[in-house]
Amino acid sequence: MVNRVLRGETHVFATIIKNTEGLVAQIVFKLITNSEDRKDIAQDIYLKAYKSLSGFKYHSKLSTWIGKIAYNTCFNFLDKKQLILLDSTFPENEKHESALEFFTNKFIGLSNNNSETNLIRTDRLEIVQSAIEKLPPLFKTLIMLYHYEELSYDEIAEITSLPVGTIKSYLFRARKSLKDTILLKYKEEEI
C-alpha cells in the first residue's frame, strides 16, 4: 500500500486513512479538547504522514508510525499553547473502602439481557468515561491505547517515544487514579 502511494496512486492513501483513523482519533480526542483544533490537527497529521511516507522503513506497523505522527503533532500543538500533558503534582486519591463494596456489588455478575441492567450498564459507562476525562491528557491517552486499542507496551513506546518502564509506571498510576475517582463517585452516591 505504501509503495502504491509512493508510485503516485494518491487514492490508495484514502485506504490508509480509513484503516488508521480510529487510532488517530483516539489520540487526538484524548489530547486535544477543542473540536476546531482537532479538525486542523487531524488534517495536519495525515498531510505530514503523506509527505514523509517515503521515510517509512517498515520497522513498525504503519498504524503505529502514523500514531507517532499524531502524538507528536498533538504534543507540539500543546507545547505551543503551553499546555501540559502531565501535571507532576497530579493528586493521588484517598482510599474508599466502603465504596469498593458498593461498586462491586452493583456491577459484578450482571447480564445485559434486561432493561434494568442496561440502565446500570449506561450508568457504569458514563461514570468510567467521566473518570477517564478527569485524568491528565497523557494518562488518558495511555489508558485508551493500552486497554481500548490493545496496543503492546512496545507499540505505545514507539508512538509516545517514552521508555517502556515509564509507560508501565504511568499506566499503574493512571489505573489507580481511575479506580479511586470511580470509587469516590460511588462513595458520594452511597451517601
Binding site: 509512493l6 508510485r7 503516485g8 496512486e9 494518491t10 487514492h11 492513501f13 484514502a14 486513512i17 480509513k18 483513523e21 480510529g22 482519533a25 483516539q26 480526542f29 473540536s35 482537532r38 479538525k39 487531524a42 488534517q43 495525515y46 498531510l47 505530514k48 504522514a49 503523506y50 509527505k51 514523509s52 521515510g55 505522527i69 507528536n72 473502602e97 469498593l100 463494596e101 461498586f103 462491586t104 456491577f107 459484578i108 450498564r121 457504569r124 459507562l125 468510567v128 468515561q129 477517564i132 489508558i143 485508551m144 486497554h147 481500548y148 499503574f172 489505573r175 489507580k176 481511575l178 479506580k179 470511580i182 470509587l183
Partner: protein, 149 residues
C-alpha cells in the same frame, strides 16, 4: 499463601493477567474478600473501558485530506536490467577507448610535467572530498526531518 493484603501493583497485575500470577497471589485473592473486591473493581473498570464508544471525527477527514494532497509527479521507474546493460556498454566503451588511445595517453603522460599531475590529482581529491561532506550533511538533514515526523 500471602497473609498481608496485596499491594496495589500486585492487584493490578492479577486483574490484567490472572493466569500468569504467582500461586501465592492467586491463593490470597481467593481467600481475602477485601483484595478480591479490589480485583473485581479493576476487572469491571477494564471491561468498561473496552465498552466505551469509539471516538470519531464529525467531518469527513478522508475527503478533506485527499483534496489537499499534491498531484503526484510521474516517477521514473528505473529498470534494473537496463542499468546493467548500460553499465556494461559504458564499461566496454571506456575499455575500448583506453586500449585504442593507449599510445596517445602514454605519450601525453610522458610530456606532462609531474608537478602538473600532482596538481590535477590534488584538485580532484579535494573536490571529491567537499562533495562527499556536502552529501553526508544533506543525508543527515533529511534523516533529522524524517525522525521529527
Amino acid at each position: 499463601m500471602k497473609t498481608n493484603h496485596l499491594l496495589e501493583s500486585e492487584i493490578q497485575r492479577y486483574s490484567l493477567d490472572k493466569l500468569n500470577s504467582d500461586k501465592q497471589i492467586i491463593d490470597h485473592v481467593h481467600s481475602c474478600e477485601k483484595c478480591k473486591e479490589k480485583v473485581e473493581a479493576y476487572i469491571v473498570i477494564f471491561a468498561t473501558i473496552k465498552e466505551q464508544p469509539k471516538p470519531s471525527f464529525d467531518f469527513n477527514l478522508m475527503e478533506m485530506v485527499i483534496q489537499q494532497l499534491p498531484q503526484p509527479k510521474p516517477k521514473v521507474i528505473v529498470d534494473r536490467t537496463m542499468i546493467i546493460v548500460l553499465s556494461f556498454i559504458a564499461f566496454i566503451a571506456i575499455g575500448f577507448t583506453v586500449v585504442f588511445f593507449w599510445s596517445y595517453f602514454s605519450e601525453l603522460m610522458a610530456q606532462i610535467a609531474p608537478m602538473l599531475i600532482y596538481l590535477v590529482i590534488t584538485s580532484v581529491v579535494s573536490l571529491m572530498l567537499f562533495l562527499g561532506i556536502d552529501l553526508f550533511k544533506d543525508y543527515h538533514r533529511k534523516l533529522k526531518i524524517l525522525n521529527y515526523y
